[in-house]
């Protein structure tokens, strides 16, 4: 089991803002329905979200999209502030959330510079029949606790176990290993894999795209959180080249 370091590469140049990743995550991870009231209360939960930034004014206007999810920071600001180790770093590079330890201080959420941690303000609820859809591999979070993207740890676990039982190696990019958002994303904006495996797509992309000629960058790099999510710059022929 040990030895993996899960990571993701997000090519901003490919993202078309289609929201497929967002709904895939809702479905896979038993995220309660984001009702109108929740949006109005600003408590809607989207473990992965598409941020849209404006540039300029009509007619020289651009709207740009960027998917943001937990960056699984190697030096994660959310971790040291949690008084009960409900959020901690595991040996596979994941920032893990242990729901039943969480007491709901919201300290970690305050300290996450990426705003990817979501608090359960209410008890989650579904109409009886819709509960049939819930994923039995994922805990339903009660009110009062924090949640966020897990890199679909349940998929990592299940696929690792299945591979082990069947005596085979887990293949890079295997569908059963990939997080739900990655499988959904029609444009292949999101790529997931083991950064420690030099032959994996994420490792190859990281190698290719970091450095002077690459498009790689980390979100809010200046904070030194050392994310395991690498972004690739958007290509825009007319852009003024950004700093760093």
């Amino acid at each position: 089991m040990a030895g993996e370091k899960w990571g993701m590469v997000i090519d901003v140049d490919k993202c078309v803002g289609c929201q497929a990743c967002v709904v895939a995550c809702q479905s896979e991870n038993n995220i309660p329905i984001n009702t109108e009231e929740l949006y109005n209360q600003r408590r809607a939960v989207q473990w992965i979200r598409i941020e849209r930034y404006w540039e300029g004014e009509f007619p020289n206007v651009k709207a740009r999209f960027i998917p943001v999810l937990c960056q699984h920071c190697s030096d994660a600001p959310c971790e040291p502030v949690c008084p009960v180790f409900a959020t901690y770093h595991n040996s596979e590079g994941l920032n893990v959330q242990v729901y039943n330890r969480c007491i709901g201080t919201r300290f970690c959420a305050n300290n996450c510079p990426y705003h990817v941690r979501f608090f359960n303000f209410w008890e989650p609820s579904w109409p009886e029949s819709l509960k049939n859809q819930l994923n039995p591999d994922v805990t339903i979070r009660s009110r009062g606790i924090m949640e966020k993207c897990t890199f679909c740890i349940q998929r990592i676990r299940r696929s690792t176990r299945d591979a082990k039982l069947e005596g085979r190696e887990l293949e890079d990019g295997a569908r059963e290993l990939n997080p739900a958002c990655v499988n959904a994303c029609p444009t292949d904006t999101l790529v997931f894999g083991d950064l420690n495996d030099p032959e994996s797509r994420v490792a190859k992309l990281t190698e290719k795209e970091t450095g002077d000629h690459g498009r790689g960058y980390h979100l809010l790099e200046e904070l030194g959180t050392e994310p395991n999510v690498l972004y690739l710059k958007k290509v825009d022929k007319d852009a003024k080249e950004g700093h760093a």
Partner: protein, 458 residues
């Protein structure tokens, strides 16, 4: 320069025990009102326990709101006790004597209010917080995360609460004995137990005095640490960039002293008005505390100014956005002006005038204003700080407290008032022995041509 009103021991006993041995006319109604507010707040808390933190106005990303503001506010008020009792005792400021007890008791109750405001009602699963953090799930060898300021801060606050409670108890012993001697039946039996067999022997007096001094000295580090640590709840964070400030610890401490000492002045005026202790709390006392407040307030303002300088100096976009919100956007701008006026620009000029410093009304109003201002100060640091967190403008937020939060904030105020009222019914709010000691201390005898104190101080 102090007036010397010499009072005899009997008069002191009679006047200062008037609240305990008799029933002041206003006491029952005041207590009932405080109790009703407190119970209403408790009801709101129960409702929140039942429904979830959703009943507050908190949201993403404004995860901390009224409760946190209130927590910091009460921790600030709690600095009254140490400031008056420990610092002034160690620096031998004579005027402190009649107010030490009220200040210490205020400390104890406001610490409880603080604990009520943050760890108890603030977290998502209070039942879990209490059972997992205190005591913790040691069976699996997982300790609490001592890197988290949320472990530092309950530790500091609990230490402070323990020390302050001891302070109050030690100082109470002689007075409890007096009440024991003046009561009968069950009351007498109860006070006999409480005073731990105080007979006023020299050894007992000596031990009591030494304990007082020791506690003063030992509690000093706590004085520095409590509010430093509370400030680190914010300052260690990188999420809300506006909090990411190295000056927060001293800034918070001096702010705490500002609000704490002001609160003591408010209580002093109330003691004169409500119990009529004008013989003990004289314009001289108010004058002294007023002068102290000028120094404290000005130092605080200096830190406030520095904090702004540091914030603006870096020209970080989120920091500027947060300042812009505080100063230019309604209603924050209105609150900001109100904060500046109440925390500094109205009270401090008032204190510069001797007549106003010696006026009960002026001191009452000015010190109440200070605490309105200091409450707003915490509000303006915490809420806009989370609203304008970083570069990701897409996620900036807004916040309106819900009625539930307001009720629970009122509950903490009611709790402190209620606590003080109940205390005053059971124990004297002005330490009898300390006042007497001062009287004795002022007795002078002539030895030859020299006039010397009749007794030597400890």
């Amino acid at each position: 320069m102090q007036e010397h009103v010499q009072l005899d021991q009997k008069q002191i006993n009679r006047e200062l025990l008037n609240g305990v041995l008799q029933m002041p006319k206003w006491w029952p109604s005041a207590t009932v009102i405080a109790f009703i507010i407190f119970i209403t707040g408790l009801g709101a808390f129960g409702y929140m326990l039942n429904k979830g933190v959703g009943v507050t106005g908190l949201n993403r990303p404004v995860y901390w709101g009224f409760f946190m503001v209130n927590f910091v506010f009460w921790i600030g008020i709690s600095h009254a006790g140490i400031m008056i009792s420990a610092i002034l005792r160690l620096t031998q400021a004579e005027w402190r004597r009649p107010v030490t007890r009220a200040a210490e008791v205020l400390t104890v109750f406001s610490l409880m209010a603080a604990l009520m405001a943050a760890p108890l009602v603030h977290v998502g699963r209070p039942w879990r917080a209490d059972l997992w953090v205190f005591p913790y799930d040691f069976a699996r060898g997982i300790w609490i995360n001592i890197r988290s300021p949320f472990i530092w801060d309950p530790s500091a606050v609990m230490t402070y609460l323990t020390a302050s409670t001891l302070f109050v108890l030690v100082a109470l012993l002689p007075d409890l004995a007096i009440i024991r001697d003046r009561s009968k039946g069950f009351t007498r039996a109860a006070y006999s137990v409480l005073c731990l067999g105080w007979r006023g022997t020299p050894r007992q007096w000596k031990l009591q005095a030494v304990a007082g001094i020791l506690l003063s000295a030992l509690v000093l580090p706590v004085f520095v640490s409590v509010h430093s640590i509370v400030s680190w709840d914010f300052a260690v964070q990188i999420g809300p960039e506006a909090w990411h400030s190295t000056i927060f610890a001293p800034y918070f401490i001096i702010g705490a002293i500002h609000s704490g000492v002001s609160a003591v002045a408010t209580v002093m005026v109330l003691m004169v008005w409500l119990w009529g202790w004008k013989n003990y709390i004289t314009p001289d006392h108010l004058d002294a505390i007023g002068r102290l407040l000028i120094v404290v307030a000005t130092t605080w303002f200096f830190f406030f100014f520095l904090e702004w300088v540091f914030a603006i100096y870096s020209l970080e976009a989120p920091e500027l956005a947060m300042r812009d919100l505080q100063v230019f956007q309604w209603p924050w701008s209105g609150l900001f002006v109100l904060f500046l006026l109440t925390a500094f620009f109205i009270p401090v000029p008032m204190w510069l005038f001797r007549n106003l410093r010696r006026s009960l009304w002026a001191m009452f109003i000015s010190t109440i204003l200070v605490n309105v201002g200091m409450w707003l100060e915490r509000f303006l640091i915490i809420i806009p700080g989370t609203m304008r967190r970083g570069h990701m403008i897409f996620d900036w937020g807004s916040y309106h407290p819900s009625i539930i939060e307001i009720l629970m904030v009122a509950m903490t105020f009611a709790w402190v008032v209620l606590g003080m009222l109940l205390f005053s019914k059971v124990f004297p709010l002005i330490p009898l022995f300390d006042v007497k000691e001062a009287m004795v201390g002022r007795d002078e005898i002539k030895i030859g041509r020299k006039t010397v104190p009749a007794s030597i101080r400890e």
